[in-house]
């Protein structure tokens, strides 16, 4: 299988701080790819670079054969990259359904003028969007909450909704930034199952950052380890688990 995403020698500096320097790796289509590394290693920064929120200081990012660096975040999203955020960023004052519809809207094709005077094409589009979005929420087990405000959901469900919203974009690649943060071990196990389901059901490649080793080791086909903005290791979960450098920098002496 071919590389869906390639990060080539990418660097990003903040003032004097090298958050990412010369980072190189690629994600194979269909894989679940994990990124781990100590706090401040540059994992989230890497996500922000891929999704266009930050521009790389140097290097290039290629997605499905096309260079992404320099594109606006919305363009990149429309190319087929969905994401969640480390600190949940839902549209809190909007309903659960609206949150999903906003992402789904990229599939709708009508012009502002059609919207202003409601031509029939818009009506059909809208009806379809409601139906598809509701179905997605149903599949995620959020159907009953369609009309609640996103900000009123309990934390765990907010995380789930964020994933649903990203899926509504119909992405080929889904970036998840610490989806299990704040979940207990029981809940994390359930999340692992859930992510497996998402991956097959929606046929997405997963790239995820996580500190819960059970999840990472259980789910990922491949793992990249970052430290100080650089890749220090890459391999299968077994290889990583045994890697001295990784243990030293990240996992610590006794495993959880």
């Amino acid at each position: 299988m071919s590389a869906l995403l390639e990060v080539r020698n990418v660097s990003r500096h903040f003032g004097g701080l090298k958050a990412i320097s010369g980072c190189d790796f690629s994600v194979t289509e269909g894989h679940a790819h994990g990124i781990i590394g100590p706090n401040g290693a540059g994992k989230t920064t890497l996500f922000n670079l891929i999704t266009g929120i930050y521009k790389p200081t140097a290097g290039e990012i290629v997605f499905a054969g096309e260079r992404l660096d320099g594109m606006r975040p919305s363009r990149i999203a429309l190319k087929g990259i969905g994401r969640t955020f480390q600190n949940i960023r839902l549209f809190k004052q909007l309903t659960v359904l609206e949150n999903v519809r906003i992402a789904y809207d990229s599939q709708l094709h009508y012009s502002p003028l059609e919207a202003l005077i409601t031509l029939p094409r818009m009506g059909r589009n809208e009806a379809e969007s409601i139906a598809k979005s509701s179905a997605l929420l149903e599949a995620f087990g959020l159907g009953a909450l369609s009309d609640s405000l996103a900000g009123d959901l309990p934390y765990g469900l907010q995380r789930k909704l964020e994933i649903a919203r990203a899926i509504a974009l119909k992405p080929r690649l889904l970036l998840l930034d610490e989806p299990a943060a704040g979940l207990n071990s029981g809940e994390t196990a359930a999340l692992t199952e859930f992510l497996r389901w998402v991956r097959t059901e929606y046929k997405v490649t997963l790239l995820l950052i996580e500190h819960h080793m059970h999840l990472v080791m259980g789910l990922c086909d491949r793992i990249t380890v970052l430290d100080f903005g650089q890749k220090i290791a890459e391999g299968t979960p077994e290889e990583i688990r045994g890697n001295k450098r990784v243990i030293e920098a990240y996992l610590g002496a006794e495993e959880e």
Binding site: F14, P38, N39, G40, G186, G252
Partner: protein, 235 residues
């Protein structure tokens, strides 16, 4: 004397009752941990204890009732709170955050000493001491939050999910620090999702389920309780 006695504590947000009348006691010098699922009311309980929220029931701190005392005054009594989400001031530098932690203290030399100690305990913070705290990574922020709370020389420390979002190694580091602080005589009330870790270091513990306490006991007891194992340890 007990560090904290909580009697029939209730917390509501509008119509939602997040904490439904819980009572527990924290002994001086111990680590008391509160575990429970998402949304069980753990954070709400801590917020009530530190005075961030209005609540019903009574809270007795070191023998005196503190219900009428405002949040900022409780810090003066030695009750410090590291809030969920860390609450660091992103527009201030690391150093400034730490200095603010010592707002109530007048002893300049003591403050300087504690500052030094904090930076030594968390070398990462020393590296970044003049960086805006908002640009720290999650783990760095968590360390800063703990270090900052220690600047007030608290007698009791309320910790809300200190391990959230931290790398495994750092979680071990933080827990080591928590133990050290406790060893120096600081009482600790620890709220955790990571029940496994928390129960291992706790002297006593309680399980919160949808606003009520369902189990209470020593850390070891709960760790081996089958119900806890099933629900919180993913066993």
């Amino acid at each position: 004397m007990n560090a904290l006695e909580v009697h029939d504590l209730t917390v509501s947000y509008g119509d939602i009752r997040a904490v439904k009348g819980i009572s527990f006691t924290v002994k001086q010098g111990e680590i008391f941990t509160l575990i429970g699922a998402n949304g069980a009311g753990k954070t709400s309980t801590l917020r009530a204890l530190s005075g961030m929220l209005k609540y019903g029931g009574r809270v007795v701190y070191e023998g005196t009732e503190i219900d009428a005392i405002a949040a900022d005054k409780r810090v003066g009594l030695g009750l410090a709170h590291v809030p969920e989400g860390r609450g660091i001031f992103g527009n201030l530098t690391v150093m400034e955050n730490l200095k603010l932690g010592a707002w109530l203290r007048k002893d300049k030399s003591g403050v300087a000493e504690d500052l030094e100690r904090g930076l030594t305990a968390f070398p990462r913070l020393r590296e970044r001491k003049d960086q805006a705290a908002g640009t720290l990574s999650g783990g760095e922020q968590q360390m800063l939050a703990v270090a900052r709370a220690l600047m007030s020389r608290p007698k009791t420390l309320l910790l809300d999910e200190p391990s959230m979002g931290l790398a495994p190694k750092l979680v071990q580091d933080i827990y080591r620090v928590v133990r050290e602080i406790n060893a120096q005589g600081v009482t600790i009330v620890l709220v955790e999702q990571n029940a496994n870790l928390a129960l291992k270091i706790a002297h006593s513990a309680a399980v919160l389920e949808t606003g009520s306490i369902s189990l209470i006991g020593t850390g070891a007891e709960l760790l081996s309780d089958p119900r806890v194992q099933a629900a919180y340890l993913g066993a």
